[in-house]
């Protein structure tokens, strides 16, 4: 039985990167978990985005080689309301995607996750998404990079947003478009209030932070289109108990569905210095343990 591939998104170290660590230190922490996959955010972690110089690119590959890390996903954005007076057209959206596909290819990535502007509170992407993606599918084929918009709370699996992406895959027959599942959709206990958030704000606008509780069984309906998973989490205590994400149900389901892709850690919790480093390590310990237990129980 082949297993999960383990990775870390540098998003996990938000606020640490740039104040108490640089990119080099962040990569060292990722490698020390035993993970192989490195996920970055284009505009966050490439200092001269969208045009890093050759010295930076050389340094990038030298670090990856030394640490035995493999680039996985490059998160990027299609900012539709780019100025107050202009919304990007399909052509402009395609130009953005083409630029990010080429940059991802240059840096060795296999996936890009474009985050399109949205038009409502259910995160329905701006309608340009379809025409923009259609225009770059040939380029994605040529570069062998898969474009994977994310399914992220409050959007569940059974939802028109997800269905529209699946419809796109089925109609185009493309092998270079898929779904990125963010495990925050399985969150089944409330998050603590973020700084500045009140119970009124939570109730009125942010109720999804209480958890949208997508049943893990729904994964079976889309798993054929899921080449990459962001392992979103918020807090794991010293007994390796995750306070919000039900890994004890997610891991067995992914094993049952023969998921062999990456689980790329995305820590999104307390942003005090250095907390993320330990939190990511706990998640890797927890998921590796659950994976092993699941394998043994089916051996």
């Amino acid at each position: 039985m082949s297993g999960f591939q383990y990775g870390v998104s540098l998003y996990s170290y938000t606020d640490d990167i740039g104040t108490v660590m640089g990119l080099d230190e962040a990569l060292e922490h990722v490698a020390d978990t035993g993970a192989t996959g490195i996920e970055i955010l284009s505009e966050s972690h490439i200092p001269a985005y969208p045009r890093p110089d050759t010295a930076w690119i050389d340094h990038w590959f030298a670090r990856l080689e030394r640490l035995k890390l493999v680039p996985t996903n490059m998160a990027c954005w299609v900012d539709t309301s780019i100025t107050l007076n202009h919304n990007r057209t399909e052509e402009e959206g395609a130009a953005q995607l083409a630029q990010d596909l080429r940059l991802a290819h240059l840096l060795g990535f296999r996936f890009i996750r474009p985050k399109f502007g949205v038009i409502d509170e259910e995160l329905t992407p701006h309608p340009i998404w379809r025409g923009a993606v259609e225009r770059v599918l040939d380029l994605a084929d040529e570069l062998d990079i898969t474009i994977i918009p994310e399914i992220h709370a409050p959007t569940p699996i059974r939802h028109p947003v997800t269905e529209a992406y699946v419809d796109f895959i089925q109609k185009t027959g493309t092998r270079h478009f898929g779904l990125l599942i963010d495990t925050g959709i399985f969150q089944d206990r409330p998050l603590p209030y973020w700084p500045g958030e009140t119970p009124e704000i939570r109730k009125a606008a942010l109720s999804f932070l209480d958890g949208i509780k997508v049943p893990v069984e729904h994964l079976a309906e889309v798993i054929d289109y899921v080449p990459f998973i962001q392992a979103k989490f918020h807090h794991i205590d010293e007994k390796l108990h995750d306070h919000h994400i039900p890994w004890d149900r997610i891991v067995p389901m992914l094993k049952k569905l023969n998921y062999n892709g990456y689980l790329s850690s995305e820590y999104e919790g307390v942003r005090d210095p250095w907390v993320a480093i330990e939190q990511v390590r706990r998640q890797h310990c927890l998921i590796r343990r659950l994976e092993r237990e699941t394998e043994l129980s089916h051996a």
């Binding site: 740039g18 104040t19 505009e43 972690h45 985005y49 107050l84 606008a205």
Partner: protein, 129 residues
């Protein structure tokens, strides 16, 4: 490296035209300047509205209006800017209560969160020359 806070202690100083205040980039991704709808500054209860403030980024000055059109210039993660505020005679030496409010447009946020506000207040110090 900058302090963890958005408002930085160092870089707070009087200038010929007023005063300058250093801010760390407050978001998890690099910010296109065109997605920043304004940076309001308050000092000891007095507000200096965004429309009159400029920023200095990597040696270039951007007025409020120039920022709105700067779609291909990024304020990077971990990078600081100097907000330039006009105030004849500047600020007195000593400790001031300084606040900033950044109005950020995140296109991938639902419409009701546009713009999103990032606020911070700190006590920081002007040192006499």
């Amino acid at each position: 490296m900058p302090e963890r806070s958005i408002i930085q202690s160092s870089g707070f100083a009087n200038t010929e035209a007023g005063f300058t205040l250093r801010l760390r980039q407050p978001n998890y991704r690099g910010l296109r300047l065109s997605l920043i709808e304004g940076i309001d500054i308050t000092v000891d209860g007095q507000t200096y509205p965004a429309e009159a403030n400029s920023i200095l980024l990597r040696g270039e000055v951007y007025s409020h209006a120039a920022m709105a059109e700067a779609t291909e210039t990024w304020w990077n993660v971990g990078e600081t800017i100097a907000v330039q505020v006009a105030k004849p005679d500047g600020l007195s030496a000593g400790v001031h209560e300084v606040g900033c409010t950044l109005r950020l447009r995140h296109p991938y946020f639902p419409p009701q969160f546009q713009p999103a506000f990032v606020r911070e207040t700190r006590h920081i110090t002007i040192i006499q020359p």
